[in-house]
């Protein structure tokens, strides 16, 4: 009787030990599966590719002969206080695509691959100590974890004009930064002389 009990105890303890080991193995495997590297959105290599695509997008658009990044930063309609074709001043183009080559490249590179992006234009204030202002060109929400950004710097000049078809031949220095003005353009003449402002076009993709 004593020997039979001992055998059953051996068996029960062996089973309990096996269950504990298997549970530990399952826990370990499960925890490794849910590490951040398994999500492509934050995989370092995927992010590096995404960042290269974002940077190339800006370089390609800026090298366009007729519609470069300077053209897009001036594609503004004072009456609606956003870019031509934009939804509203808060989101810029929002869910719409920017026009022409910029929109085409963004759609082919990011939208078709289920990526989201924001574009904002950062400009110098007249008083350098005020830091930089920003205008949303495309706002599609808060960037997710793993978002990447690429930037391109553009110099604007006093005698350039707005490029949207709804504006006349007034030069940039003739516009005002007061949002209630009929001649509203948010980017100010921050530099004395022929230079108007130096702006950064920042593309964030996730």
């Amino acid at each position: 009787m004593l020997g039979a009990n001992r055998g059953q105890a051996y068996s029960l303890e062996a089973i309990a030990g096996s269950v504990i080991v298997v549970m530990a193995l399952l826990f370990a495997l499960q925890s490794i599966i849910i590490t951040p590297t398994t999500s492509s959105g934050v995989d370092p290599e995927v992010r590096e590719d995404l960042r290269a695509q974002a940077s190339d997008t800006l370089v390609i658009v800026d090298s366009n002969e007729t519609a470069d990044l300077s053209y897009y930063t001036r594609y503004w309609v004072p009456e609606i206080r956003t870019f031509e074709g934009g939804q509203n001043p808060s989101v810029g183009y929002g869910t719409n695509s920017p026009p022409e080559v910029l929109g085409t490249i963004l759609k082919r590179t990011f939208t078709r691959n289920s990526r989201l992006y924001n574009i904002k234009v950062l400009y110098l204030h007249t008083n350098a100590s005020d830091g930089r202002g920003r205008v949303p060109m495309v706002y599609r929400g808060q960037p997710a974890e793993g978002a990447v950004t690429a930037s391109h710097t553009v110099t604007l000049y006093d005698n350039q004009t707005l490029t949207s078809g709804k504006t006349g031949t007034a030069e940039l220095w003739e516009y005002e930064t007061n949002p209630t003005s009929e001649a509203y353009y948010p980017i100010p003449n921050a530099v004395e002389g022929p230079v108007y402002n130096v702006v950064e076009v920042r593309l964030t993709v996730w």
Partner: protein, 309 residues
């Protein structure tokens, strides 16, 4: 001393120890992977490549100096150099502020007037016929080969006469001939021939002006107006106007040599040709300093580059 009775408990305790070991390894592996991702995440924003910064600085330097050249008429070379220096310094400050805010890079641009090269601009800044005592004359006289960087005419459509105006640009070996013929106030015929062929176009003025870039072979006021430009010639030795009395407007020609045969320009736009200095090639030092990049380069930026940029 372990007895038979204790052997099963030993198995049980061993299993628990093994389980803790597995869980511990999982935690360590996870921590390592998490740290890797956190480090990669810090690089989420990208600084612009040195090549992109270099291109933007070079293009901005060229554009600012071009505007400085054409904004003044009455400056001497020394005054123009100081004016260019002031504006390039302001440009450098603005670029520096922008790059510092976006990428923590320190970018500076320093213009060097002593090492910059100067050229000359022959200009008629007020509306008048394209004459200089005679309707047939040479704004750029025969002589040594020189580079032509800028050749524009801004015609007053209504005041110009019906009849042909010719501009001949030659370098002894090749030449570009341009004939501008007013058909009506809203239509001009532009015929050209050069080393690469010939073209005949009708060009439309805008707001009473026909603005032709004869160097690049295009109209600023009419996108469809394209023709042979003088940029088909590497160098020129002479520019000649014929029947200048048929054309009324303004013009400007920039070469890398002096044009002392014309009077110096004054602040008030003249209705006869005068000359003013231009910065032909701006010498500047560009430095970029950041955590990953540090370089300084001296640049000779040609303000009037030949060919298509």
């Amino acid at each position: 001393m372990v007895t038979h009775k204790d052997r099963a408990q030993l198995l049980f305790v061993g299993a628990i120890a093994l389980a803790f070991l597995i869980v511990g390894i999982a935690v360590v592996v996870n921590t390592t992977l998490f740290v890797e991702n956190t480090q990669a995440g810090m690089a989420g924003s990208q600084t612009q490549s040195p090549v992109a910064i270099d291109n933007e600085v070079t293009n901005s330097l060229r554009t600012v100096t071009l505007r400085v050249n054409h904004r003044t008429l009455d400056h001497s070379a020394t005054e123009l150099g100081a004016y260019a220096n002031n504006n390039v310094t302001r440009l450098g400050t603005a670029l520096g502020e922008s790059y510092a805010a976006s990428s923590s890079l320190s970018v500076s641009v320093r213009y060097r007037n002593d090492s910059s090269k100067f050229g000359s601009r022959v200009v008629q800044a007020g509306d008048s016929t394209f004459e200089n005592g005679s309707p047939n004359w040479t704004p750029v006289s025969s002589g040594s080969q020189r580079e032509l960087g800028w050749f524009v005419v801004n015609l007053n459509a209504s005041e110009s006469q019906s009849g042909t105006f010719h501009a001949n640009v030659t370098n002894e070996t090749n030449s570009v001939n341009l004939t501008i013929d007013k058909v009506s106030d809203s239509n001009f015929s532009v015929r050209t021939s050069g080393p690469t062929g010939s073209a005949s176009q009708f060009c439309t003025p805008r707001r009473g002006r026909l603005f032709l870039d004869l160097h690049r072979g295009q109209s600023v006021t009419d996108d469809s107006c394209r023709f042979n430009g003088t940029d088909e010639l590497d160098t020129v030795s002479r520019v000649k106007f014929t029947n200048g009395d048929n054309a009324v407007g303004k013009y400007a020609i920039v070469t890398n040599s002096s044009s002392a045969s014309f009077p110096e320009c004054e602040l008030t736009p003249r209705t006869d040709p005068c000359h003013a200095p231009v910065v032909w090639a701006a010498n500047a030092t560009v430095s970029v300093v950041g955590s990953d990049v540090q370089y300084e380069s001296e640049k000779n930026v040609t303000i009037y580059p030949s060919g298509v940029e």
